[in-house]
């Protein structure tokens, strides 16, 4: 208890609070700019943290990344440019609400569900960090393989346009993920001797092209297809009611996110996809998903930030960072003498609690900052569509360029944007392509690693208890899908036979 009081003293100083607010504002800006990532924001902040005390330094990184990742939902909702692979899971629904004239509601749901998820994740972090970390340590490449296959299967199940087309989209994404150096011996694949292709197709220009550019191509001639935005004094009106209606989704999303997020390297991207498909499966109105229906948005939005909170567990308890952002934060922890490890919880618990308090503050700050963003969003749609489209196009180019500072990113964005436009006009879903690009390397890497460990024995994938359970679930899902497909095929034949 003394530690908690001490932690309050560390966090509630003018310096720390100012740092949190400034870093959050910076994160909001970076996150809301299409193409600029939370990783970039954190890396840019690192030199500033050299000159700060430990707690403000960590606070800067945490509040900036939490804000940047959540703010990535804003361009998703307004312009159909998702900020992260996770927000690509529900971008159709968020943008669908905007088209119905409810941009404020879309942003409000994203932000408030995220804040709830983040706070839920905080509670989990506070109570169960060491336990969850120990649990996550049991996951080897076998379990990762099944988890990523499960995530990919979810993307196919939820995709619009049918499972067969979703599957084809996914395979295209997995193919794009093959481009570059293979993970085993670094052999170039599908690079045609072009150095830039050896680096692979990174998902940010791909995502910008496939969602934003394709959208401009589709509607550019007519301007954005948006209903006039409701003139509300309170852009968050109706958010509370919506969250209340889907409170079970909110809770389930946050709980699932807290568990999945604790798995290093996979949780953040995958969680939202799994819970979005869960929401669709259990919904009374699954047909509304993807058209601007808040149900999946609530659940996946909560998952997203809960996973973000708990992704710090393996980083802080065992020093295993799951992604670039937590890796940067681990670096800053080291530099400030707060070395990650179990002793962070025992030797200097006030430091650990201070970090947790920063989480709470950053998540609470999401609400006023998100409110301001939602309030401002209305003005975007007062811009004549032609100008707005030109500005979006500019953001697409800048965002695609910024990821590696090369024109190659812009080229990727354009090629995949045109491809997505063609695919979409034939009713192919885009989201599975993105998830294929993001998870493809993980599937391949974990498959190769597992096969090496099992020395080529496929049964090795069922040789460990958790892997066997995950494998059984995944196989059952596919079995169900195949059975249904065969059933559908037979029905078609029966219908055809009398006529023939």
């Amino acid at each position: 208890m003394d530690a908690l009081v001490l932690a309050f003293g560390l966090v509630f100083t003018p310096d720390t609070l100012i740092v949190i607010v400034l870093a959050s504002a910076f994160g909001l800006f970076v996150g809301a700019m299409p193409g600029l990532t939370a990783t970039m924001a954190a890396a840019l902040l690192v030199p500033f943290t050299f000159y700060m005390d430990p707690v403000p330094a960590i606070a800067a990184i945490i509040s900036c990344t939490a804000m940047a990742i959540t703010a990535g939902d804003i361009p998703g909702a307004l312009l159909r440019i998702p900020g992260t692979p996770a927000s690509a899971a529900y971008v159709e629904d968020a943008n669908g609400l905007t088209r119905k004239g409810k941009a404020g509601l879309a942003i409000g749901i994203s932000i408030c569900a995220a804040a709830f998820g983040g706070l839920f994740g905080f509670a989990v972090l506070m109570l169960a960090a060491p336990m969850l970390a120990r649990f996550a340590l049991n996951f080897s490449s076998f379990e990762y393989f099944w988890l990523s296959v499960l995530g990919l299967s979810c993307a196919v199940i939820v995709s619009r346009g049918g499972i067969a087309k979703g599957m084809l989209s996914l395979l295209l994404g997995l193919f794009i993920a093959q481009i570059g150096l293979d993970p085993l011996i670094g052999q170039p694949r599908f690079t045609f001797g072009i150095g830039e292709l050896a680096g692979g197709i990174s998902f940010i220009p791909a995502m910008i092209g496939m969602f934003a550019l394709a959208e401009i191509l589709r509607n550019g001639g007519r301007g954005l297809q948006t209903a006039p935005q409701a003139e509300l004094t309170n852009p968050f009106a109706g958010v509370g009611a919506t969250l209340g209606r889907y409170r079970l989704n909110l809770l389930r999303g946050a709980a699932a996110g807290s568990v999945i997020g604790a798995l290093p390297g996979i949780g953040g991207d995958l969680g939202a996809w799994i819970t979005y498909s869960l929401a669709k499966r259990s919904s009374k109105t699954p047909e509304k998903f993807g058209t601007g229906h808040p149900e999946g948005l609530v659940e996946a939005g909560a998952t997203n930030n809960a996973a973000l909170s708990s992704s710090w567990i393996p980083a802080m308890v065992f020093g295993i960072p799951g992604d670039a952002v937590t890796a940067i934060a681990v670096g800053v922890l080291f530099m400030k003498g707060m070395e990650p490890g179990p002793q962070l919880l025992t030797v200097n618990p006030h430091n650990f609690y201070a970090v947790l308090l920063v989480f709470v503050l950053a998540n609470l700050l999401l609400i006023p900052f998100g409110y301001a963003a939602a309030k401002a969003a209305r003005y975007i749609f007062k811009v004549p569509p032609a100008y707005l489209n030109a500005a979006i196009l500019l953001f697409c180019v800048v965002g695609a360029y910024a990821i590696n500072n090369t024109m190659f990113g812009v080229l990727v964005m354009i090629v995949l944007g045109v491809l997505a436009y063609i695919l979409q006009s034939r009713d192919f879903a885009i989201a599975p392509i993105i998830l294929g690009i993001v998870l493809g390397p993980l599937v391949e890497q974990s498959f190769i690693t597992s096969m090496t460990i099992a020395r080529g024995d496929v049964l090795g994938f069922f040789g460990r208890p958790i892997a066997a359970a995950l494998g059984a679930i995944t196989s059952l899902i596919w079995l169900a899908m195949i059975t249904r497909a065969i059933g559908g095929f037979q029905r078609v034949r029966q219908r055809q036979t009398p006529g023939a």
Partner: protein
């Protein structure tokens, strides 16, 4: 005669102009290319170096991450930049390996070498409840059946893989018999070790420290001739098994070949001062990175040596061209 005078005057004035131009180096912001992504060790140390160069030389040193292709994209970008001193970069271990592996036509001779600032040997780790109590136990087990011990810590051809191959070779076995599980680096390999899927992880101390303190894993040996100052009780492999070991990850500052000598000298002097400074040592110490310094021709000698050791391990691993 007149023509000779004119030519001489022209040469002198050009030389003077050149000198003037370089006297003021750097006159505008300098780009520092980091060939690895934000958040990694090269990025972290590169940003420390950039910030300190900025303080010393009075111009912004802007870090740009040019990632991809296992560092090839960024290393190529540094090599192909204008050799005017306004684009430099952080060059890393992989430069000692591209040639031998045949993945890219890049060698340290393509660069103007400013200085080496970091080198870290890896270490050998096992799970806490492993049967191998000492490095001797592990060596005996590997000698008995090299295939039975599953080790990980990097992709094929990564520095930790070559360290492992080099150790297996040092035990008098054929390096290609060793059993390596390819992963993307230290963190996933430690995850595999802790989950009980593999027997040995070859990673660096900072990556493994938290798991060591949690009592999940143990260090058996440091892969070098000196003990790690932070872990003096972990025996160096040279002492424990009598194996001579020259493979370690390194990081240094370099620019495209053909940079003006004055510019290289200015940068090397600044970097020497930085590496010697307590502030830099403190920061590196906190991040658990080893500090070493080798400037100019010392750096070239160092890279020559590394190149040979890496080349031997790469061909032993059967990865050579």
């Amino acid at each position: 005669m007149k023509r000779f005078v004119t030519a001489t005057m022209a040469a002198i004035s050009l030389f003077a102009a050149g000198n003037l131009a370089f006297a003021g180096y750097p006159e505008r912001p300098v780009t520092v290319i980091v060939p690895w992504s934000a958040g990694g060790g090269t990025d972290a140390t590169g940003r420390i170096i950039a910030t300190m160069l900025e303080d010393k030389l009075g111009q912004p040193f802007n870090v740009v991450n040019r990632t991809g292709g296992g560092g090839i994209v960024g290393h190529t970008a540094i090599r192909d930049a204008d050799p005017d001193g306004y684009t430099i970069g952080i060059i890393t271990t992989e430069l000692s390996m591209y040639g031998a592996v045949g993945s890219a036509e890049l060698a340290y001779t393509d660069y103007s070498l400013v200085g080496l600032y970091n080198a870290d040997p890896s270490a050998i780790f096992v799970k806490a409840d492993s049967d191998h109590r000492t490095i001797g136990d592990l060596a005996a087990a590997v000698k008995a059946d090299p295939q039975a011990t599953q080790a990980s810590g990097a992709n094929f051809g990564g520095v930790n893989h070559l360290s492992w191959v080099s150790m297996v070779q040092g035990l008098g076995l054929d390096g290609s018999q060793s059993n390596w599980v390819p992963t993307e680096g230290g963190a996933p390999a430690l995850q595999l070790l802790a989950s009980g899927a593999i027997d040995v992880a070859v990673v660096q101390f900072p990556e493994a420290q938290a798991l060591m303190e949690a009592g999940e894993i143990r260090a058996l040996a440091t892969l070098g001739s000196e003990p790690n100052p932070k872990h003096p009780d972990v025996p160096p492999i040279t002492e424990a098994l009598g194996i001579d070991f020259a493979i370690a990850g390194w990081r240094g500052v370099g620019g495209p070949a053909g940079m003006p000598d004055e510019v290289v000298a200015t940068l090397a002097e600044a970097l020497d001062g930085i590496v010697a400074s307590q502030a830099f040592r403190d920061q590196m110490e906190k991040l658990n990175y080893g500090v070493v310094w080798a400037g100019g021709s010392d750096f070239a000698d160092y890279l020559e040596n590394r190149g040979r050791a890496f080349g031997a391990a790469i061909s032993a691993a059967g990865l050579g061209q």
